[in-house]
Amino acid sequence: MKKPDEEETRMGKKSVGRRTFLKATGAALTAGGLAGILEARRAPAFAQGAKLHVLRWVDFIPEADAELKRQAPLASKALGAEVTIEFINVNDLQARTTAAIESKAGADIIQLLWNWPHLYASALVDVSDVAEPIGKAQGGYYDIFNSTAKVGGKWLGVPHGVIGNTVAYRRSWHEEIGVKEFPKTWDEWRQVGKKLKAKGRPIGQALGHSFGDPPTFCYPLLWSFGGAETDPSGKKVAINSKGTIESLKFFQAFWKDACDEGGLAWDDTNNNRAFHAGEISATLNGASIYVVAKRQQDKIKDDKGQPLYLDIEHGAPLPGGPAGRFALYVPFQHGVMKYSKNQKLAKEFLKWHHQKANYEKWFEANGAYSVGATKAWEDHPMWGKVDKPLRVYQAAARQARMFGYAGPATAKATEVYTKYIIVDMYAKAAQGMKAEDVAKWAEGELRKIYG
């Protein structure tokens, strides 16, 4: 209301007024954008005292956050505005986002996981002008972002990265039972797991209400047997199918034969610690099991006293089923909020961060945990330097699918996901409910959501 005038008067004659600045940046953008400004070695003149507030999760890899903290003052200098990055627990991100959108006040840029751009579409600024050039310059975005960050043909989030997940397993334990290569089909894995569980080394899988591990396991399992939430239109519920029931039946046997049954209460953290303590032989996870084991190699050791990470193989995506082999990865993007008074500045910040020199440092700090959002990063020299078990993540994001499949990843798919209906479907099966009844239950729940 009053603010712009106040700012202008406070700034006096020495600095550029807000309106002048808007014109100036507008012109600069058409003439080559931020790169042009930077080449001219002149910080773009944002209203003095302008602040940019970026809200992100606390990264699973502390080094990645450290790198962003390091970049904040650099960005402030380059943009002529004060950039602060706030990190909060991933589970609390949506509470903050919702309150911010509803009260029209809060962070200017918010990190959006999964398909949240669909969820918050009406509160997000179209950032196609930022996202398109980055995608074009860097070999194109992974397909998954077309369904998560693009809403109605417009980019509502600038893709930032993808967290892949594959099965981490103990090489020596598998070799002991004669398994040299990780099973490629579910049935094979069940046989392997059966032998391992008999030796007190079950497969660990979380099935609780937790945002990462349980869904990233359950959705691909469903898909690999040909199950799907809906038909391709996303309107007709298709969950009560032969494929779903088969996957449920398989899972019941798999759970009993091969898995640690405590997994029903596990969240995303349990399998890491169980793996590090030698309680489980294999588990689906991001790179964090390996990365942490290596970083704390003097603390995390195997039963023979050797550093555990030497025995961790991370080479295996989830096995495949009759319908194929799939993955559900966690994509994330940055959204610029409509209520923000600094939308231009926010976009400039994103452009700045996505410049190769800056983004690269963040990418490297992640050490293969979060991979790039565009395909160009697959060719980055880092992949030659990372440990062999982590190289599987190099092109992993290519095969990712989003929940909602076979339909689009709309807000309704999010509802299915946040209600943990697919996860609970498998949890119910694990608890002994009949596969047909479980599928029927899920169909009922999905009908209520998809209408």
Partner: protein, 314 residues
């Protein structure tokens, strides 16, 4: 903030500053009541009235995050009513509240009676039993979460070590046990406040009454039931009332411990409302779930208030 002594100063000086009229006004009950109630009403009016009204509006609207939505009547409530997860959450909430409150009251009463004796280290023990109540719930719940850990549970380890169990107890992975485990944590957290409040109440009981009753041949239980309990009742009712409301609307504990899982067996009204309203962005439906507990609470409150008044009247 003005605290008690400061106010006292003001009051003692009052007659000198404003003689006559104002002082007489202060003697007027209705005026004085309005004056005394005003700070409360201002704060509640400023901070609760709007959100409360907005909450009611949301529950009858199709609002989602970022979209104000339109009036849709009772549609949200109908949808919620037919939702199997909601039904499960409602059932869980009732069990959770009822069981936890009974245990908090029962165990708290016994503890208060124990602490009412004189013994060495009384002061230290009285203070230390309050610890569970003091520590921020989120943090103590994380400690419990780890104590219940399916793989590393220290409780299981101890029981196993002493040969009391042969297999791990699935504290949080079994549907029925999970709700029980959540109740245990709630009782652990809430019981100390019951105990201390009841202990304070016990202090008011005149020992002579007990001695007289003992001389008349009343045993321990009779003395408790006939003398102690009636005297404790008014304070107990208030504490129970607030505890019921809080337990009914509990959020943090379940959110941290299980997130409502496994398979929704520990979902409560508040966690489910949060999941729908915040995680899914369906503000209208979330508000409807939140408000669905309102009538139930309201009935409980009215009954208890009526009871308190009756007891006081007697």
């Amino acid at each position: 903030m003005a605290d008690a002594p400061a106010r006292e100063d003001i009051v003692t000086r009052l007659p000198a500053v404003r003689p006559g009229a104002f002082r007489r006004l202060l003697e007027h009950e209705q005026f004085l009541a309005a004056l005394l109630l005003s700070p409360t009403l201002v704060i509640l009016g400023l901070f609760i009235a709007y959100p409360f009204a907005k909450g009611i509006w949301l529950s009858v609207s199709s609002a989602t995050v970022g979209n104000p939505g339109v009036f849709i009547g009772a549609e949200n409530f109908v949808k919620v009513w037919n939702d199997s997860i909601f039904q499960k959450a409602a059932q869980n909430t009732v069990i959770y509240t009822a069981v936890a409150t009974v245990f908090k009251l029962g165990l708290g009463m016994i503890l208060a009676l124990l602490l009412n004796h004189h013994f060495r280290g009384k002061r230290l023990i009285r203070a230390s039993i309050l610890l569970p109540f003091i520590i921020p719930t989120v943090l103590s719940t994380f400690a419990w979460k780890w104590m219940f850990d399916p793989t590393f549970s220290v409780i299981n380890w101890t029981l196993y070590y002493f040969g009391l169990i042969a297999q791990r107890i699935p504290w949080l992975s079994d549907s029925n046990l999970a709700l029980g485990s959540v109740i245990i944590v709630n009782v652990w957290r809430g019981m100390p406040f019951f105990a201390i409040t009841l202990l304070a109440g016990l202090q008011t009981v005149n020992p002579e009454l007990h001695e007289a009753a003992a001389m008349d041949g009343a045993n321990g239980w009779q003395r408790f039931w006939r003398i102690t309990w009636p005297l404790l009742l008014p304070v107990t009712m208030v504490v129970v009332l607030f505890s019921v409301i809080q337990t009914f609307a509990d959020f943090q504990l379940v959110y941290v411990l299980t997130g409502g899982g496994p398979a929704n067996s520990t979902h409560l009204f508040a966690t489910y409302a949060y999941q729908i309203g915040v995680a899914t962005g369906l503000l209208g439906e979330g508000a409807a779930i939140s408000l669905a507990m309102f009538p139930i609470l309201f009935v409980i409150v009215i009954l208890q208030l009526w009871y308190i008044r009756r007891v006081e009247g007697a």
